[in-house]
Symmetry: C2
Subunit: 145 residues, 2 copies
């Protein structure tokens, strides 16, 4: 679990080096990394290019299916409503996320998107929470200077 | 309004001819079509390839910005939570949709995603509702035969 969230953290750091908000995601099947991605919203001029969406799209393309129900996803930040619903649509088995997002997180705090009966994805929040939260805190502190 | 929803209906019909669920979307700026797309989930093996997401991505790429707040979007069906949040993220000015989606619609029926104070997008539902609903009804009737 920690190994994969660390890979997601590395993706977040790469996103930061491209000038994007540091958020990373990794899709895993049978303990093997299928895809990984960092946030590319600014670089790609694409509001949907969140780390989760990019990682899911890559994984589906590789596995040649829009349903990847044997996969888990590891994300550094609690997904927003767009990503939470994309996770549901892809039927991902388990979602692990690091930091909670009080403002825009759709899983734990907001509309509990993934908790509804139609959402089968299991959710484990707060994995390496401090480390995942610190990357974002430092990024936004630098922005304010 | 009817002209653009008709273009979205044409995109839905094209999606059906590719074996996908017939849903279409058109992004418009200053009465000019910027992008249009139909559902490509099956064809692209991509659970995020809803008509709205594809049309938004194309429009942003063309306008070279992840914020397209001078654009409106026309969709044949009430957007799901993923698409509703993508519309918010792109800051689209106005959403026009045709048929209401009682089960998965995120705008009117479900979690009222776009009604929250952070969502500035204006919503007009039920545009050419009967025509938009019929395309989907006929598609699912054929599926059941």
């Amino acid at each position: 679990m920690q190994y994969f969230i660390n890979l997601a953290i590395q993706e977040a750091e790469k996103a930061e080096s491209r000038g994007s908000v540091p958020i990373g995601a990794v899709v895993v099947q049978n303990n093997k990394v299928i895809s990984s991605a960092g946030n590319e919203v600014i670089k790609n001029s694409d509001p949907t290019a969140h780390a989760e969406i990019l990682a899911i799209r890559k994984a589906c393309l590789l596995l040649n299916s829009h349903i990847i129900d044997e996969c888990d996803i590891y994300v550094t930040l609690e997904p927003c409503a767009m990503c939470a619903h994309a996770i549901y649509l892809s039927r991902i088995r388990r979602l692990y996320f690091g930091a909670y997002d009080v403002k825009r997180g759709a899983v734990d705090q907001w509309s509990s998107t993934l908790d509804r009966s139609i959402y089968k994805t299991e959710v484990i929040g707060g994995v390496c929470e401090t480390q995942c939260a610190e990357i974002l805190q430092k990024f936004f502190e630098k922005k304010r200077i």
